[in-house]
């Protein structure tokens, strides 16, 4: 941001970097608070309920009250847990989720790190979270926690493969892993949702599985595993795991906006509306999509889940990569871009 990363180190620059990070943190927290609120509202409306409406006007402070309750709870560390791992697991899970937000460009000028391998960075860091989840499950010394952790690892490792491969089509078309260049390629041509429709569908499914959300919420299947890997967690450590999930939702929806919906690019030549508004609208649409499928689909079975990833999504993703490469070599896609 503002070329600070290219300059020599100085304490002022460090201060600016930290304050920018805190500001982004504030924005992300605001998003998380109201994502949870609107998730409960929308799921409520679909189930013909009203959703939270008691705390504050229209229940707007419901999540604030919930988080406050979590923060003032006693920090319980059960006796027989592996203490060190139990304590650092939420931190390991959370840190990468916040770190990947740095590479996402919001508008032409509003971005934090212009990384040449932005997509690689995103994929690599987001898989570190699995370690935190696994550690949390294992350190809890609880059968539900370890089962939830194992399921989570199996699921996230499996679905990461088609997820990353669905990026590849986009990368092949732009010839860049830099997210800003990907958006610029879409500004010149068409949004990648059209030439990369198959990749987009794969991304939608695998991304949802990566987020551990319904219909892929087996790691925390309430009716089988109580709460999965965070059974033994309470108070602010539990809040950290929840925060991780919703920050990933932010990151995943932003990434999808950038890769397939042209980021800040205005459709139909509606350039007078600023790019940040367009980015935000597309982003909200994708977040709504996540709520919508949560309210619609039941959870998939474990055996179907793994079979679907390895037998359907990965071959499809490979096919998509090959097809894109072929069409690109034949010069059909280079006309698009």
């Amino acid at each position: 941001m503002f070329g600070i990363l290219e300059q020599d180190f100085s304490w002022l620059n460090l201060l600016i970097m930290i304050s920018v990070a805190v500001a982004v943190m504030g924005v992300v927290l605001l998003f998380v608070v109201y994502a949870i609120y609107f998730e409960r509202k929308i799921v409520g409306w679909i189930q013909l309920r009203r959703g939270p409406n008691r705390v504050g006007p229209w229940g707007l402070f419901q999540t604030v009250a919930d988080v406050l309750k979590l923060l003032i709870k006693e920090d319980v560390v059960p006796t027989k847990v592996d203490r060190l791992l139990f304590l650092i697991a939420p931190i390991i899970a959370y840190t990468p989720s916040f770190a990947i937000i740095a590479v996402i460009p919001y508008t032409e000028s509003l971005y934090f790190a212009d990384v040449n391998v932005g997509l690689l960075y995103y994929g690599a860091l987001s898989s570190i979270t699995i370690t935190g989840i696994m550690l949390g499950g294992w350190a809890s010394n609880n059968k539900y926690a370890i089962m939830g952790g194992m399921r989570s690892v199996a699921q996230m490792v499996s679905y990461e493969v088609p997820l990353i491969m669905s990026f590849l089509g986009v990368v092949l078309m732009t010839g860049s892993l830099n997210m800003r260049e990907i958006v610029q390629a879409q500004q010149d041509g068409v949004w990648f949702i059209f030439p990369q429709f198959l990749g987009f569908i794969i991304f939608l499914i695998a991304g949802n599985a990566e987020l551990n959300r319904t219909p892929f919420d087996l790691p925390e299947a309430e009716n089988e595993l109580v709460a999965g890997y965070f059974v033994e967690y309470s108070g602010f450590r539990f809040a950290f795991f929840m925060l991780t999930e919703y920050v990933y939702m932010f990151a995943m929806a932003s990434l999808m906006t950038v890769l397939f919906f042209g980021g800040w690019d205005a459709p139909f030549g509606l350039d007078f509306i600023p790019g940040i508004v367009w980015f935000f609208l597309k982003f909200l649409m994708l977040v709504f999509w996540l709520f919508w499928i949560r309210a619609t689909f039941p959870r998939v079975r474990t055996d179907q889940l793994m079979g679907f990833a390895w037998k359907v999504l990965i071959p499809l993703a490979l096919f998509n990569v090959m097809l894109t490469a072929l069409l690109h070599t034949l010069g059909i896609y280079s006309g698009v871009n």
Binding site: I42, W45, I46, Q47, L48, R49, R50, W292, T296, F297
Partner: protein
């Protein structure tokens, strides 16, 4: 096949988003109970002839009443002195109002008995007399 069912499901839930809600706004807006609802009894001491039938029929024995001789020496019979219903016990079964020959005790549509102390659940003659809203239509 080909995910048609998934799209149908999504379409259905999207339609549901705009349907009227089935929940009530209960604590904000009172709930209208249907006629013949068995709510808290209303008691009219003037009508009572102290026949003791309500106390005898009560399956939980929650009604206690005491009569006294009619203060008017010209008239025979008794008038009611105390009349208590213990709502810790009362199951609102309607038998006391069914059996009452003079309709001195009747059902109302009021039903909110929640309180912070069990002591408040012993309702006396005065309270039951003042509980004179939403009385069952056939007894008005």
């Amino acid at each position: 096949m080909w995910g048609i069912g998934l799209l149908k499901g999504l379409g259905f839930t999207f339609k549901m988003l705009f349907q009227p809600k089935v929940t009530t706004k209960y604590p904000d807006e009172p709930i209208e109970m249907p006629n013949r609802f068995r709510g808290i009894q209303h008691f009219e001491p003037e009508k009572c002839i102290v026949c003791n039938q309500c106390a005898r029929i009560c399956p939980t024995g929650c009604i206690t009443l005491v009569g006294k001789p009619n203060p008017d020496p010209e008239k025979k019979g008794k008038v009611i002195d105390t009349y208590d219903i213990n709502f810790e016990l009362c199951i609102l079964c309607d038998l006391c109002t069914e059996v009452c020959p003079t309709e001195a005790v009747v059902m109302s549509n009021n039903w909110e008995l929640a309180t912070y102390s069990r002591d408040n659940l012993l309702k006396d003659l005065k309270w039951l007399d003042e509980n004179n809203t939403n009385i069952r239509e056939e007894n008005v």
